[in-house]
């Protein structure tokens, strides 16, 4: 069996080089994370924002915004985030499109592990929002590791010359579907909404790919099988239920729960999954802050998330420089 063994050896995963060391690493590039980056970068803190993509978060997929102070609009969420990012970049913040898979939050030198490598930092600001899933689809847990997967790059090679389903409607789902075309014969892209909510170029690439069959407005009802995934039962809008025969089901659905899986239970959460922070947005671990929709204490609006980000950024600056009080930015 041939397989790309990535003989680049993954050296970038080792981290530790000068380019991988930051003062602040922000996970999540929505309004909370990007506002934090504006302030930390402007405070001359070496800042990296790791984000899955412009349309990965709640604001990024919002259609029309006319109530963000200072931006009369209407603008799309993606446009608003892009304006914020440009502002952060103008102060020196770096943005990396990647997925964080783990963190080591303890100690003075913290580590953030992303797909492209490890990044070391004094402060971590968590801003991954609340689009995590609240419940699994029937059959999903039963067949986990037996055809159900959340990582096509990890598991795609097990599905060579087979038919699989990718379920989801975001950049990640489409990128993973396209990755699977290297191995699978056919990919059913099951999209719950009537239209794709991914980047235009990505959506076009997936739609035009001969191995990908896009099924819009189709809900996943159940993953079926007998010891191993054998099919997905789906319900197209306005049509009858049907079972598509597949051996793999790659699930990238979203919900309304705080996304904290990459933290591996290293931080205290409330029963509803929200992180616990103090008045400066610091979690129970010094140097680790959480902002935006990861918290349950506020109105879920972009401007509130942005304000959280600023509070955390100012506190991060104080933490790094060992100051007792916040330094004001106006005189």
């Amino acid at each position: 069996m041939s397989f790309d063994l990535n003989l680049g050896l993954g050296m970038s995963n080792l981290g530790g080089g000068e380019d991988n060391n930051y003062d602040v690493v922000i996970i999540g590039g929505g309004p909370a994370g990007t506002s934090a980056a504006i302030y930390t970068a402007r405070a001359d803190l070496r800042t990296l924002v790791i984000d899955k993509g412009l349309t990965a978060g709640a604001l990024g997929i919002t259609g029309k915004i006319s109530n963000y102070p200072g931006v009369p609009g209407p603008v799309t969420g993606a446009e608003l985030v892009e304006i914020m990012r440009q502002q952060a970049e103008s102060f020196g913040a770096k943005f990396l499109t990647d997925k964080v898979v783990g963190v080591d939050i303890h100690g003075a030198r913290k580590m953030v592990m992303a797909g492209t490598g490890a990044f070391y930092t004094k402060v971590i600001i968590l801003a991954t929002g609340s689009m995590g899933r609240t419940s699994a689809v029937k059959g999903e847990e039963e067949f986990l590791g037996r055809g159900v997967s959340y990582c096509a790059t990890c598991d795609g090679a097990f599905f060579r010359d087979q038919t699989v389903a990718v379920i989801g409607n975001n950049d990640e789902a489409l990128e993973e579907a396209l990755f699977l075309t290297k191995f699978a014969d056919k990919i059913h892209l099951i999209v719950p909404t009537p239209e794709l909510k991914a980047r235009e170029a990505l959506a076009a690439e997936a739609t035009d790919h001969p191995k990908i069959a896009v099924q819009l407005g189709t809900r996943l009802k159940e993953i079926v099988g007998n010891g191993q995934v054998a099919g997905v039962r789906v319900h197209p809008r306005g049509g009858g239920e049907q079972t598509l025969p597949v051996t793999g089901a790659f699930v990238y659905l979203q919900g309304g729960k705080p996304i904290t899986d990459y933290l591996m239970e290293q931080l205290e959460t409330q029963p509803n999954g929200c992180l616990v922070v103090d008045h400066e947005m610091q979690t129970t671990v010094p140097g680790v802050f959480a902002v935006g929709d990861l918290l349950c204490t506020h109105v879920k609006q972009a401007v509130i998330a942005a304000a959280d980000g600023v509070i955390a950024a100012v506190a991060a600056d104080k933490y790094i420089h060992g100051r007792k009080a916040v330094q004001t930015d106006w005189k």
Binding site: M1, F3, D4, L5, N6, L7, G8, L9, G10, M11, N13, L14, G16, G17, K99, V101, G102, M113, A114, G115, A118, L144, G145, R146, G147, V148, S149, C151, T153, C154, D155, G156, A157, F158, Q228, G248, M264, E265, Q266
Partner: protein, 217 residues
């Protein structure tokens, strides 16, 4: 042609300054080198060149059968990472298949850990490992493109360091399809414990510990 690039070599030379005790890479290949045997041997040799604290021994799986049996090696390519120097010790840390992609970082982390002589596990896990009466064998199936896998591999190897009764293998799933079939590996990381229990994903230490307790109960 070397596999390690100049910048990577320099980075590793710097990282290996922290090595305090000698580490030995015991690598098994064969005359008619298997798929990725050559590359695995090259990785072992090139990494060993980067520090005086790292040595490498290359053995032929067929010709050096006694040594392979002494290390309990049953497939190739294989690397055992052992403590070298005056007090050599085989902790039961094994890599089966090429440690490339994300697993190269697992290899480096293991070298650092063996040299340090400290697993870094919690006191609770160490106490459980010390109390073991029966052997525990962990096989962590991986692919080189899996960013979640090194965490599972490193934790298994940390456990191996804590008890002579624990052995832990990284198994590159695509190179050993017969094992992948035997253990129903369709997603990685998948950790098989003592042939009977398995776990999907890279679990935090407390969850792995509870799975291990369940497996040996």
């Amino acid at each position: 042609m070397s596999l390690l690039q100049e910048a990577d070599r320099n980075h590793l030379i710097n990282e290996f300054q922290a090595l305090t005790e000698p580490v030995k890479l015991v690598m098994f290949t064969q005359e008619m080198e298997c798929q990725y045997c050559r590359e695995t041997r090259m990785i072992s040799e090139e990494v060993a060149e980067l520090s005086d604290q790292i040595s490498v021994e290359i053995y032929d799986f067929v010709r050096d059968q006694e040594i392979a049996e002494a290390y309990n090696i049953d497939k190739i390519p294989a690397i055992a990472i052992v403590r070298g120097g005056q007090k050599p010790k085989d902790y039961g840390i094994r890599f089966y298949g090429i440690p490339s992609g994300y697993e190269f970082s697992s290899l480096i982390e293991n070298i650092m850990m063996v040299s340090r002589g400290e697993s870094g596990l919690t006191a609770e896990t160490k106490a459980w490992a010390a109390s073991l009466q029966e052997p525990v064998h962990l096989q962590v199936f991986v692919t080189p493109t899996c960013p979640y896998c090194p965490q599972a591999v490193i934790m298994a190897h940390q456990l191996a360091m804590e008890s002579d009764l624990i052995t832990a293998d990284m198994v590159e799933a695509i190179e050993f399809p017969q094992l992948s079939n035997k253990y129903h590996v369709h997603g990685v990381p998948r950790t098989v414990i003592n042939e009977t229990t398995h776990m999907e994903g890279a679990a935090p230490e407390p969850i792995l510990l509870s799975k291990l307790q369940e497996a040996v109960a």
